[in-house]
């Protein structure tokens, strides 16, 4: 009788402890969404969803009446996202193709970790280098007064997102079954044609997932844009204009708001928007990847 009890207890205890840990963790993760919602939803009610998302003037501390439209901020995020992706995608894909299809296994072992090390460069360091070196360079090249604009920021953000895109593309490409390649080569095509017409299409959805995850990383970037994007409230018209993405705006204004004020709620509403955008993008990428895995198996 005692024996059975002992077994029971020592089996249930770990289950209890782990269960409690899991419960605590999952609860706190759910509460992220909840707190954002609670703190921010008041803004949607007061400002009105249409005015919030489509108004182009975000000026909560205006001389006259405050205005609460985040469209310029969204445009700022969008411009940087497009530009950074435009730079990081071909770059990342090229690196991935090289690592997975062309490099010798030894090269790959050596180079892949190095590429991943780029991901551990803190973004404040990239921002610092932007201020010290890249911004003056861009100013010189384009004959601008200063280099604090969307282009400078996008280049640095692209560097930050590069390892994500390269790494996941590489994983996807190398997971394409060897048989596909062998069959293609047996038919007499060159290695490049094999890559171009067989491997890449076969990797298809995985590559899309990589792009989306890279995009999520790009959208969420705060420090680089805070330091070099210029932060002007005007609606940007070109890549050489200063921009003010949603992330930087939150980081800038959050410290001056009184808890519970409309400005506070407005910033949380922006945070909520960011949360939903990045969560959905990641979710879609995730579903794509999992569909691939089940397809491959």
């Amino acid at each position: 009788m005692n024996f059975k009890k002992n077994v029971h207890f020592s089996e249930n205890l770990p289950r209890l402890i782990f269960g409690a840990t899991a419960a605590l963790t999952i609860l706190s993760l759910i509460s992220i969404f909840l707190f954002l919602l609670i703190s921010g939803v008041g803004a949607f009610k007061e400002i009105g969803i249409k005015e919030f998302f489509l108004g182009t003037n975000w000026n909560p501390t205006s001389f006259h009446t405050p205005s609460w439209g985040i469209f310029s901020l969204i445009a700022g995020t969008l411009i940087i996202s497009i530009l950074a992706l435009f730079i990081a995608l071909p770059f990342g894909l090229s690196i991935a193709i090289y690592l997975s299809e062309i490099a010798s296994p030894k090269m790959r072992e050596m180079l892949k970790p190095l590429i991943e090390m780029i991901a551990s460069i803190p973004s404040v360091v990239l921002g610092l280098l932007g201020l010290l070196f890249l911004a003056p360079l861009i100013a010189k090249i384009f004959h601008l007064s200063n280099g604090l604009n969307a282009l400078t920021a996008s280049i640095l953000v692209a560097i930050a997102a590069l390892p994500t895109i390269a790494s996941i593309c590489e994983d996807t490409l190398s997971s394409v079954s060897l048989r596909f390649r062998e069959a293609s080569l047996a038919l007499g095509t060159t290695k490049w044609t094999t890559i171009k017409k067989v491997v890449i299409p076969a990797a298809g959805s995985g590559l899309v997932a990589a792009i989306m995850l890279g995009l999520g990383r790009i959208i969420g970037e705060t420090m680089i844009v805070l330091m070099v994007a210029g932060n002007s409230r005007a609606f940007p018209h070109s890549f050489l204009d200063p921009v003010r993405p949603m992330t930087a705006n939150i980081a800038i204004e959050i410290k001056e708001v009184v808890v519970g004020s409309l400005h506070w709620q407005g910033l949380f509403a922006i945070g909520l928007t960011l949360f939903l955008i990045t969560f959905v993008i990641n979710l879609l990428a995730d579903i794509l990847v999992h569909r691939r895995h089940s397809y491959e198996n």
Partner: protein, 308 residues
């Protein structure tokens, strides 16, 4: 796996040893502490004051953070800090909010600032009228040639809305919303750094930021004398006599705010008295700002008298 655990144990011991060996403060029972937050214009000045103060009052725990006057005032209203640095006066609605929260805001005048207009050294402009400055920052004047300079677009540098300097400059000089094209920089220093690299830039900074560590005007930017109107003489903020006599059009007092009257002989009271002392005023001057004038001093003394 045992190796990994061993590795981490050694790492931990090493880290704790490092921390332990580099701690050279004696363990005193409950320390007095002060939390100061707010104006970026004042943050360096107040940090200097704190550092000097601590030489005479070792063992106290004081922290200073910037972020802008708005940050300080918000923190004050949220009940988080002991002293708020603010380069602008608190607004009525903020005082209302304070009252509603049961606070009795006390105002202390720290120093005087001559808000300086800066441009690139190669900019040929010799002076500007207040009205021109306002139009430039409103976005009505967009080209330097309209005020006698080169045929180039004006690039506006300003602060974030958290900044007391931003608010003061807007309310006092521009008297209108800033042009949305203005680049909102992180702090006074960021504006200086930007303007010194931008031939067509213009910026506004606290006078403490236009002087170098020897209290001489910096050579990498040009400080523009300002005239009230066409008939008045243009005055430079470096001219301390003129500033004291009130001739510089953009002079302002800079403040510190307390949530309540401090207790007699508390760390806070001693710090405030230090700021008013000769040594404190010296530090203020060394930081490039101007010491308080007689009227300010009287107001401060009045406030200090109320402390029981």
């Amino acid at each position: 796996m045992k190796k990994i655990i061993l590795f981490f144990t050694i790492l931990f011991i090493g880290i704790f040893a490092f921390i332990f060996l580099t701690q050279n403060q004696s363990t005193t029972p409950k320390k007095e502490s002060l939390v100061i937050k707010g104006s970026d214009t004042e943050v360096q000045l107040v940090s200097n004051l704190v550092e000097a103060f601590l030489e005479k009052n070792p063992g106290a725990d004081i922290s200073v953070t910037g972020g802008g006057s708005g940050v300080g005032i918000a923190a004050l209203l949220n009940g988080e800090i002991d002293l708020a640095n603010s380069s602008r006066k608190m607004e009525d609605k903020e005082l209302e909010q304070a009252k509603n929260k049961g606070l009795e805001i006390q105002e202390f005048i720290l120093a005087r600032d001559g808000l300086s207009i800066i441009v690139h050294p190669e900019n040929p402009i010799q002076q500007l009228l207040i009205d021109q400055i306002a139009k430039i920052y409103k976005g009505e004047i967009t080209n330097w040639k309209e005020v006698g300079g080169k045929d180039e677009k004006v690039i506006l540098y300003g602060r974030q809305s958290t900044s007391g300097t931003y608010v003061f400059f807007r309310n006092f000089v521009v008297q209108e919303d800033y042009s949305p094209e203005m680049l909102n920089m992180e702090g006074n220093q960021a504006i200086v750094d930007a303007v010194k690299a931008d031939k067509n830039g213009i910026g506004y900074v606290g006078v403490g930021y236009v002087k170098d560590e020897n209290n001489q005007p910096r050579s990498d930017i040009k400080i523009i004398p300002v005239a009230q109107d066409e008939k008045s003489e243009a005055v430079s903020p470096l001219n301390s006599e003129a500033v004291k006599q009130g001739k510089y059009p953009i002079a302002r007092p800079i403040f510190q705010y307390l949530p309540h009257l401090p207790q007699k002989n508390s760390l806070l009271e001693r710090f405030l008295r230090f700021e008013m002392s000769e040594q404190g005023q010296e530090i203020i001057k060394k930081a490039g700002f101007f010491s308080i004038n007689e009227e300010d001093e009287q107001k401060n003394q009045q406030f200090l008298k109320n402390i029981k």
